[in-house]
Structure formats: C-alpha cells, structure tokens
C-alpha cells in the first residue's frame, strides 16, 4: 500500500503533465484558445440566470431574492458536473489508454487520478465564474461558504472510488460504456438539482434522500442559497459510504489490475 503511494508520488509529474496536456490539446487549434475554457461555462451560467430569472420567472418557495432559483440551480449543476465528469472520464480511462497500459510499465492508477485532476480544473474555472456572477448580482460571498470545502472533498472521494470501479468493470464488461449513460441520467433526475426536495411528495423525498448525491447537493444548496449550515449526520453517513466505496475500488483495482492488462 505504502509502496503504491510512493509509486504514485514518483509519477506525479506524469499526472500533472497529463492534466495540462488534456487542457492544452482541447484548445490547441482554436483561435480563441484558452478563452473557451471561460466562455463555455460563463454562457451556461448566464443562460440559466437569464432564462429562469427573467423569462420563466422561476421562484423558490420562500425565496428572498429574484435570483434564488438560478443560484440554487447553478450550485447543483456545478457540483453535479464535477461528479459526472469524473465518472465519465474514469469510465473510459483504461480502455482509452489501452496502448499505454499494454506497452509501458507505470502505476495505472495514475490515469484515473489525472482524470480527477482534469475535472477539478474545469470545476474551479466554473466555480470562480459562478462566484463572480454572484457578486455582480449582489450576493457577496459569505464565510459559511467555506464549509462547502469538506463536502466537496467527500464528493471527490466518492466520485474517485466509484469512477475507478466503473473504469475497471468497463474493461471486462464493455456493456458498462452504454449502461453508464442510463445510470448517469437516472441519477441526475433522482438528485434534487433542478427541483428542490421539498416540492416532492414525502415518500418520494425520503427515497431521494437515500441517494448520497442528494445529501451532498442539498447540503451545498443549504450553504450557498440559504447561508446556513446543513445537518451533519447525513453528511457523516455519506463520508463513511465514500470511504467504503474507495476501499472497494482499491481492492477491485489491485485484484484485477494484472488481468486488466491481459484483457485490453
């Protein structure tokens, strides 16, 4: 175990290099280059804000500002995008890098780590833009927003574990590639991102609350939209669950990594 971490540390240059290369290669041949990194999420955020505030006039129940639904939606969407991006990148990571895996000897677990890093870069760009837009709309950052950080860490652990499990399974059962699309869209709609949890009938709401992503997303919404701290017990349960997911992922990875090279 310790040796594996040391190995990953040796290859940190490769992980950072892959993240940079991935970032650079996306915009390499476009005229605007890295500007697109900002332009795409900015337009998404603005579209949400304009459509839901001005055109559809959406309001949250007991809302305090006209922008509350947009803020609610963006909080959920940005968090979800991070989660979904990690999962979808990890899902194909071993298959896409089959050539490297078969011909070079390096710690393969670096690949999902680089995917995680890549998704994080995108997340931070979008997050900064979101904060800037919020400031423009008169919602100044509050100290309590920093309590989102541990929740995001829990989410990262959960996503990383799940992503590695998906990635490994996908090597042996290629159906995972197709199934993934269904899983992720089902999961999206069973997470209170576009709708608040309290508009659901009670029995549905209690079912949706069993979803770990619901706990994470609603906690973040409570912090950002309402500015109060979320209940800690469900988050603690999700933390335990995330750690267990990660342990399962590590076990699966270590057990199957040799066979994986044969299968690719």
């Amino acid at each position: 175990m310790l040796k594996q971490f040391k190995n990953i540390w040796t290859f940190r240059g490769f992980i950072i290099g892959s993240i940079r290369r991935d970032f650079e290669s996306r915009y390499r041949h476009s005229m605007l280059g890295a500007v697109w990194t900002v332009l795409v999420p900015l337009s998404t955020i603005l579209i949400y804000v304009i459509i839901f505030t001005k055109l559809m006039n959406s309001r949250l129940p007991n809302a305090t500002t006209p922008f509350s639904y947009s803020i609610f939606l963006c909080t959920g969407m940005i968090t979800w995008s991070l989660f979904a991006e990690i999962l979808s990148r990890c899902n194909g990571i071993f298959l896409e890098n089959a050539n490297l895996i078969k011909k070079l000897n390096f710690p393969r677990v670096c690949l999902p780590l680089a995917a995680l890093g890549g998704a994080l870069v995108n997340f931070f760009v979008t997050l900064s833009l979101f904060v800037i837009v919020m400031v423009f709309l008169g919602n100044y950052p509050k100290l309590i927003w920093f309590s989102a950080i541990p929740i995001l860490i829990i989410q990262l652990v959960f996503a990383a574990g799940l992503g590695i499990i998906f990635g490994v399974i996908n090597v042996f059962f290629r159906d995972m590639g197709q199934l993934f699309g269904i899983i992720i869209s089902l999961w999206f709609w069973t997470t209170p991102i576009v709708y608040p949890l309290n508009i659901l009938p009670d029995y549905v709401a209690s079912l949706v609350s069993l979803n770990p992503m619901s706990v994470i997303v609603t906690s973040l919404q409570t912090i950002i939209v309402d500015g109060v701290s979320p209940p800690l017990l469900p988050l603690f349960v999700v933390l335990i669950l995330s750690v267990i997911t990660c342990l399962i992922a590590l076990h699966l990875y270590r057990k199957r990594v040799d066979e994986m090279v044969d299968e690719l």
Partner: protein, 407 residues
C-alpha cells in the same frame, strides 16, 4: 543490479466459454471459476547475470514478446517467480506516449514523465537528448510534421537517455537510417561495456552473434535451447527444417563450438573432409588455393531424389558461399537403401584469411525447408591463411590489379 532470475514462469490468458460466464463468475456469490487457461509460455527458467548480453530467438508467435513484457514488468506472470533487479528500459515499441499535435520538446517531457522522470531531471537531460536525436529545428515543431525516421530518432533518444541496468530491445535496431542505426548501436554497446544487461530479440544473425554472449531459443512457449550464441543459432536454423521426424543433435567440437545435425536421417553424412591442391587432407589452406570438399554419405532408406549442398560461413556466421547439386544440375533420383555415395566439390578458396565453417545439406528439393534428410552445421572447420598474396582486407580475394594512365 541488472541480473534476472526466472524460475518456472508461465503466462496464460483467461478464456471464457461465453460472454455471460465472466459475469456469472464475478457477480454470483460462491460461483466457481468459469475460465480455462490458454498458456502462451510455460516452464521458463533461466538466469542472466548482470552485464550479460543475451539474445532471445524464436519463430513468430513462440512467446518471445510475452516473455520480454514480463521482464519489462508490463505483464505479470501467471505462475512462477521472476526477479529483475534494477531499472529496466524496454525498447519494445518506440514512441509510446507520444502525442502528434505537440512539439518534439513537449513530447520529450511527456514521454519522460511516463517513464518516471521528474521535470527538473528532464530539463537537465534535454540538451543531451536533443544532441543525440539530431533533428534540429524540428524539436520545436509538432510531431505530426515529422518523418517516421525523425520519430524513431527522438523516441530512441528519450528511451536511452540514461543508462538502465537492464535494456530490452525488440527489433528496434533495424529502424532509422544507416547513420542513426550505427549511432544507436554504438550507444547500446557503450551501455554494455558499462555493465548494462542486454536482452535482444532479433532475427539478424549477424547482429545477434556480434553483440550477444549467449542466446535463449524459445519455441512453442518454452525454452528449447540455451547457451553459446552460435550453437543456439544453429539449433534455431535446424528447427526451420521440415517438421516430420525432427531430431536435432548437437555434438561438442574441440574448439568449444557445437556441430548441429538435424533432419529425418533418411540419408546421412558419414564424413566430410577437404583436400588441398596437393590432394592431401588438411584444414589449412592458402588464399586462392584450389581445394576439394569431399562428402561421403549413405542412404538409409529408399529415396526418390537427393540434392547435396554445402554452405561456407565466416566466424560471425555470415554466409559466404553456398551451392547444391540442384543448382549445379546434378540431382540423383531413385536411390535404393544402403547406397554409399561420395560427392566431391572443387572450388578456389578465394577467401580472406580467417576461420570458416562448412554446413552440409542433404535434401529432396532445392530448399532444405521443403524436406530435409539431414542438415549439419559446422560439419567441417577450416582456416585460410595468406602467405603468397598481397596483404588485402575483407572476406574475399578478388585478385585486383592496378592500371595507371598518366596524362
């Protein structure tokens, strides 16, 4: 550092009877293993000391690459233990981890990071890599504008930027232009002198014999022969003969090399000797001397057709001259069993000074691969000395004369 010990290693791939059986095995609790093992290589044991240069030879699909990948660490053995001490650099496929749209310099960083080098290390290695690759301003152009030769130059330069304890080369020597081939060959030889263990897969007998001390022949997924390079290469050559009734026999010769006899033995050599211009039996000849090669043989069964040939090789195993009675239009047909025959080939020993070996082929057709009665490598050894001719270089005496016209 640099030694490799393999004990009874084998590699097998899992084969499942259907797409669903793996699913069943994974997800149904307490289910039994559904797969059967398909062995690629098995029961391979060998020991390679640090600083040795060993050739791995064998037919396509014999399991050479699988074995090398296990030593390089990309594949793990299914059974047995394999210990390779020290850093391993594998030139199994040059240019892995390259990205077409990035520049050569960026690719050096990326491929280097994939090999485990840190950024500062790569920065200090960069001038040396650049100097060795000699691709000039292309270093800062995207890889997609490279010729395949430039690709190889850059890839080889990164892969061998620092001296590894173990270097694995899979046919990589035959890439690049003559100039770069020579340059990379020299770097490999320098590594060898400095103590790097070399493992080389090649079908080029000359490269193998000039670089390697020892060879391991892999056939049908296991070690078929091992030892002195010449001996193993002769054995390998004998394996190429016809499959039926294959018997390969290797007898030690007084000089430490081996005489290799293979084939169906339907016809066999009794003895081989050479006569000098005075018709005396000897093994030392003068450059340009008229000599006679005598092959006495016996048919052990009735044969429909017999072709007898001989092949001269120099001390590196390079073929100097070969001919047979098919090409000399003297085939014999319908021979009864137990017949004794004496063949005599006369030629001029217009050879450079040095040691030579004679291989004898007894076959049904022109090529011994078709049907080999008997093939003998190192059936006779002789040397050529230069006492009377001008002092020349090379393996042939072409009897050149100089004419000068002054105007």
């Amino acid at each position: 550092m640099g030694n490799i010990v393999a004990h009874e290693i084998g590699k097998a791939y899992r084969e499942y009877p259907s797409k669903w059986s793996r699913f069943y095995e994974w997800f149904v609790p307490f289910s039994r293993n559904q797969f059967s093992l398909n062995w690629i290589v098995r029961n391979i044991s060998f020991e390679i000391k640090a600083g040795e240069a060993v050739a791995i030879v064998g037919f396509n699909g014999a399991g050479k690459s699988t074995l090398l990948k296990m030593i390089a660490g990309t594949l793990s053995p299914t059974e047995g233990t394999l210990v390779a001490n020290g850093t391993v650099a594998a030139l199994l496929e040059l240019g892995m981890g390259f990205h077409e749209q990035f520049t050569g310099r960026q690719n050096v960083f990326m491929a280097g990071q994939l090999m485990g080098y840190s950024l500062p290390q790569l920065k200090s290695m960069m001038p040396q890599i650049e100097a060795f690759a000699e691709i000039g301003s292309y270093m800062d152009k995207p890889l997609r504008t490279y010729s395949s030769g430039m690709h190889v130059r850059l890839a080889f330069s990164i892969a061998t930027a620092t001296r590894p304890d173990i270097l694995i080369i899979d046919e990589a020597l035959s890439v690049g232009d003559a100039y770069f081939q020579h340059k990379s060959f020299e770097r490999i030889q320098r590594f060898k002198r400095q103590g790097t263990t070399l493992l080389i897969v090649s079908h080029d007998r000359h490269a193998v014999e000039s670089l390697c001390d020892r060879a391991i022949l892999i056939n049908d997924g296991t070690v078929e022969s091992e030892g002195n390079t010449g001996k193993v290469m002769d054995y390998y050559h004998a394996l190429m003969g016809s499959e039926e009734n294959r018997q390969i026999q290797q007898d030690a010769l007084p000089d430490g090399t081996y005489k290799t006899i293979s084939g169906s033995n339907e016809v066999s050599v009794i003895n081989v000797f050479m006569l000098n211009s005075g018709l005396a039996k000897t093994d030392t000849f003068e450059v340009g001397e008229s000599v006679e090669l005598v092959v006495n043989l016996k048919t052990n069964v009735q044969v429909e057709k017999l072709i007898v040939g001989f092949l001269l090789k120099n001390k590196y195993g390079q073929e100097i001259y070969g001919i047979n009675t098919h090409r000399l239009e003297r085939p014999l047909t319908d021979l009864e069993a137990g017949k004794l025959l004496s063949y005599s080939f006369s030629f001029s020993a217009a050879l450079g000074p040095g040691n030579y070996s004679v291989s004898i082929s007894l076959s049904r057709e022109d090529s011994h691969v078709e049907k080999s009665y008997q093939w003998t490598d190192r059936a006779f050894l002789f040397h050529v000395i230069n006492k009377s001719k001008e002092n020349f270089v090379g393996c042939n005496w072409l009897n050149a004369r100089a004419t000068i016209n002054q105007k």
